[in-house]
């Protein structure tokens, strides 16, 4: 089910608006690619030898949005989602065919998106130039937003092929 956009997007004709519109569309794409699948299908490694699954990618996208919007842009003091002790593969490996794991993953992803939206609601176009310095790596709000958009887009490419291999479904 595609979640409604609960408020108007920032004005068209702006860089922030363009990036945010794409993020809204790509999140909806992920929802569509996961729609109607059982826990078993969601957890299936449907394009071997790849170890990617739809469920693993939903967990990874929640982790990725949380990292950029909550940990980086909001500087919240929280552990990184699904990556205990730097175990990067856990977000994919532990995406198992279990109803409770599925429910938790989608609830977490939606909650992270709401927090990310709240961060974006407070951004003004000039904020795109803002520079932070986490871990001694310089970056900009602009760079963070672009990175979120292209991470989503690349993983939507994975989801296209994973889903088609599960049940033949294709489309945007």
């Amino acid at each position: 089910v595609t979640e409604p956009v609960d408020e108007p997007l920032m004005g068209t004709g702006s860089e922030l608006g363009a990036l945010r519109r794409w993020l809204v569309e790509l999140r909806a794409t992920v929802e569509r690619k996961a729609d109607g699948l059982s826990a078993e299908q969601l957890a299936a490694r449907s394009v071997p030898p790849s170890d990617l699954s739809v469920l693993g990618l939903v967990r990874h996208l929640a982790q990725m949005e949380h990292y950029w919007f909550v940990l980086t842009l909001s500087r919240a003091d929280e552990p990184r989602l699904y990556v205990d002790d730097g175990d990067w593969d856990a977000q994919f490996r532990d995406a198992v065919a279990d109803e409770a794991v599925v429910v938790e993953a989608f609830a977490t992803w939606r909650a992270v998106r709401a927090r990310a939206d709240a961060v974006m609601d407070h951004l003004e176009p000039a904020d795109l130039e803002f520079v932070w310095d986490p871990d001694d790596r310089r970056g900009s709000v602009r760079g963070a937003l672009i990175q979120v958009v292209y991470e989503y887009a690349r993983h939507c490419g994975h989801l296209d092929l994973l889903r088609e291999a599960i049940d033949g479904a294709t489309g945007e």
Partner: protein, 164 residues
Amino acid sequence: MSDDELRGEEAVLTDYLGHFRRTFERKCEGLDAEQLARRSVPPSTMSLLGLARHLAAVEYSWWRRVMEHDLDLPKMWGKDEHPDADFDGAIADDAVVAEAWVTWRAEVAYAEEFQASHPMDHLGQHDDGPIEMREVVVHLIEEYARHCGHADLLRECVDGRTGQ
């Protein structure tokens, strides 16, 4: 992340688009015509060669048709008559492979020159109405990234290679 990100919208978006164009090219490196044309993730009909032809057509359509206000220009690969011609015509033939890369590189060069000589709010003409160049660049980053996602799995299924 790099200091490049501190140079403003145009430089940053241009860098990211260039990054994904190069990423796609690298995903296809070192493969012969048969491997490039292989539909390695069935039942999908995609192949790396099909993606190269598709991306050439995408560049051509956005820059020569939309941004140049020339929507009457015929689509590439005869896609007006046969919308899937980019993928369907991607056959394991060295001449087809060579043509795809020459065409894609020419369209990328055209795009880079056009973009460098126009402002980000330059208006193109899309079927749905006017569109700013910045929207086209963001769209292309998104489209290349998604196709790089396809290329990730296609390549892994051809020879196991991952990464980039």
